[in-house]
């Protein structure tokens, strides 16, 4: 648990601080930060902090959040009165009702709130009443042992492995999504601004949603790197500022909820579906990544010709080698593979490049941003993934490449822009073309099995195979249009 890491905390010396400042106000002595709550010495300070904030801010409801294996946010609310017990014993719930949590003869699970993730939710009606807060939970079995089906736990374990090797994994995803009219017409989604480029009303709504979303994100501690831009009609993109992968996975879960809720308040439907409209580009979650060691960017090596370190090369090589195996996790829906096609700025061939936007892995130029900005961008994931599992398998693949010293194939030259032919054996592989193919790849992957753990690995495959079979039973519009009359 993160809060137990504070035991090595150096006590501050009591010291009056002073100094002229712009309004010339005073400062006083600082007590040691390590003092526990005198009323209950056993309680740790982060928990004490949360309990005090709940009282001070008159929080009415505390939402405890966790994520099921499919990547859906699960929430249950407790009252402030229950909070102390929740910290001490956790909240017991029936795991059999959660996707991917059920295990034979072990339905009782415990959700332990992580006090360092305590955030107030943005006020819905702005009048300051009805204040609620959220905390992410770690899931354990009734015996208190970490539950191996908890996606947050899976990511924690891989991050711990990276840490043992001296690395911290930082990620910065670019979140894309569409805004649609609330109701579909003839079963088809209607883009918010389709055919209404001069319609001020919809423009105002989009701009208001944009503004509200950005401010809600910032107040919930999710800083935004660049503001929106739109590629397809009604498509939006918000780039999140980097954070360690665990924090970022939490942020992605919060992000998806906020975007949907704010859109809903405006009578609009937001979707993270990877490819909601045929014929226009889908929504990706391009993820910028770097490893830091001893406060330095381990991907950067100013002495090498291209500025990339051997660590970066190994990481990229690992990711390329295992890309096919991890795609079922980073792109987990039947629909995900409708996005991964040629011609819509989505990656298809397994390749890397510095200045070729068709590549699966891009090494963006850092210009004057300095060594810290050296990073690689993995362009396969889509925003419908389970971010904990996606970051976990990406990191595991990269670490594998570093540990085993994988050799990095040559980069795709800028001249190659086609998607089907990247000209040579080094680029001969493609991402899986369907969920079915991706699941086959995953099933044979020792790396993914080890990373996810047997319980989650098996459940994921079973669940997704079912999804594919169910899809196979459908007769699509394409088939009707092309075969019904002709054959």
């Amino acid at each position: 648990m993160a809060h137990s890491m504070r035991q090595g905390h150096a006590p501050l010396r009591a010291q009056p601080a002073f100094g002229p400042d712009r309004k010339g106000k005073a400062t006083v002595t600082i007590p040691s930060p390590t003092i526990p709550n005198p009323a209950n010495p056993a309680r740790e300070r982060p928990q004490d902090y949360v309990l005090r904030r709940v009282t001070e801010r008159r929080v009415r409801l505390i939402r405890l959040w966790f994520t099921d294996v499919a990547g859906q946010l699960k929430s249950f609310a407790i009252s402030p009165a229950e909070l102390e017990a929740a910290f001490e014993q956790g909240m017991v719930f029936d795991g059999s009702s959660i996707e991917g949590f059920s295990r034979v003869a072990e339905a009782d699970m415990v959700a332990l709130p992580d006090p360092e993730t305590f955030e107030l939710m943005p006020a819905r009606n702005g009048n300051g009443e009805d204040i609620s807060a959220r905390m992410f939970c770690d899931i354990t079995g009734a015996d208190g042992a970490p539950f191996d089906g908890d996606p947050r736990g899976v990511l924690r374990r891989v991050m711990d492995r990276a840490r043992a090797a001296g690395y911290t994994f930082y990620v910065a995803p670019e979140m894309e999504y569409f805004l649609f009219e609330p109701d579909r017409v003839d079963g088809r989604p209607v883009p918010l601004d389709a055919g209404s480029y001069f319609d001020l009303t919809t423009a105002d709504i989009a701009s208001d949603i944009r503004h509200r979303t950005l401010s809600a994100l910032e107040t919930m501690g999710i800083p935004v790197e660049y503001s929106f831009h739109e590629d397809a009609p009604s498509q939006h993109e918000i780039d999140l500022r980097y954070a360690d992968a665990l924090t970022m996975a939490d942020s992605v879960m919060t992000f998806r909820l906020l975007v949907r809720e704010i859109a809903f308040e405006h009578g609009v439907h937001a979707t993270f579906m990877p490819k909601p409209l045929a014929g226009v580009q889908g929504s990706g979650m391009h993820t910028h990544m770097s490893l830091f060691a001893d406060g330095r960017n381990a991907f950067s090596d100013p002495s090498s010709a291209d500025g990339l370190s051997d660590v970066a090369r190994g990481f990229v090589a690992g990711l390329l080698s295992h890309a096919r195996e991890i795609t079922a996790v980073t792109n987990q829906l039947v629909n995900s593979y409708k996005r991964l096609i040629a011609g819509y700025e989505a990656p298809v061939a397994i390749s890397w490049a510095r200045s070729n936007r068709a590549a699966l892995i891009r090494v963006p130029p850092t210009r004057n941003e300095g060594e810290e900005a050296t990073r690689v961008e993995y362009r396969a994931p889509d925003p419908a993934c389970n971010p904990y599992l996606a970051f976990a398998v990406i990191l595991a693949a990269g670490l594998k490449g570093i540990e085993e010293g994988y050799e990095l194939p040559p980069e795709t030259p800028p001249s190659i822009t086609g998607y089907s032919d990247h000209g040579g054996p080094a680029y001969g592989h493609h991402l899986p073309a369907s969920l079915d193919e991706a699941l086959d790849e995953m099933e044979g992957s020792a790396l993914v099995a080890e990373t996810l753990g047997q319980h989650l690995f098996r459940w994921f495959l079973r669940n997704k195979r079912r999804e594919w079979s169910s899809y196979q039973t459908q007769v699509t519009q394409f088939e009707l249009d092309n075969y019904f009359a002709a054959v």
């Binding site: 090595g8 009056p16 100094g19 002229p20 309004k23 360092e116 107040t219 954070a243 001893d294």
Partner: protein
């Protein structure tokens, strides 16, 4: 450490301070307030109006008592550490008029010649009062942090911080103007074991600035290639 003015401290006062176990240091001019400040800051000040004329090298040309310098020192103390630094004035019975219209420059006074018992009691009272009783508050510009309730307020607007954001802000605000490296902040605020690495500090600073709001985001300043500090330079 008490600042005592004028620098030529009378025998009785020096004796009183030494016997009472007060750490003290003579302060001749306003410049000494900042230049001579002990690392932990002044605990208080004793200013004797119109000192003992025979001993004081009255640097000012006017007035036998040299009260102009004395009041300048008192004013400098206020600017230096605002109201938290208690200032006690020793004043002769025939010079009480000196106090008129200068209430904001001192916290208490004692008739001179003083009785050691009285002076001791008044200093003790001032020390207790300046510690703010049970509530510990850090204030800096528009920022106020109540250390007891963990309430952080900027421009009277409550800040909803996560625990670590709060800890970072509190730490920076405890020593405004002082520059901390990212490594120092990581060690002191997070503890050395935390696995976010030094970049964690950047991440949290960015979030804190977002929550402080645009108009106050510059409360936390980036000191290029060094680290972060709250507010401006410690010494102006």
């Amino acid at each position: 450490m008490y600042a005592v003015h004028p620098a030529a401290v009378s025998t009785e006062l020096a004796q009183f301070l030494d016997l009472g176990g007060y750490a003290w240091k003579p302060v001749a001019t306003t410049a000494d307030i900042t230049a001579g400040a002990p690392p932990e800051g002044w605990a208080g000040a004793i200013i004797r109006l119109g000192g003992h004329d025979a001993h004081s090298e009255s640097q000012n040309s006017e007035g036998a008592g040299g009260t102009d310098v004395a009041w300048a020192v008192a004013r400098a103390l206020r600017e230096h550490a605002a109201a938290t630094l208690p200032v006690l004035v020793l004043v002769r019975g025939n010079a009480l008029d000196e106090l008129t219209m200068r209430d904001e420059l001192f916290d208490d006074f004692c008739l001179d010649p003083f009785h050691p018992r009285e002076l001791e009691a008044r200093l003790a009272h001032l020390a207790a009062a300046s510690n703010g009783g049970s509530t510990e508050i850090i204030e800096y510009g528009p920022l106020r942090i109540n250390l007891d309730t963990y309430e952080a307020v900027v421009d009277e607007r409550p800040l909803d911080l996560t625990y670590m954001e709060y800890e970072l802000l509190r730490f920076l605000a405890s020593q405004p103007g002082r520059v901390f490296t990212r490594e120092a902040l990581l060690n002191q605020v997070w503890g050395y074991e935390y696995y976010g690495g030094a970049r964690t500090v950047d991440v949290h600073v960015r979030r804190l600035r977002a929550k402080l709001g645009e108009e106050n985001a510059d409360l936390i300043q980036t000191v290029r290639s060094v680290g972060y500090r709250l507010g401006t330079y410690r010494w102006r």
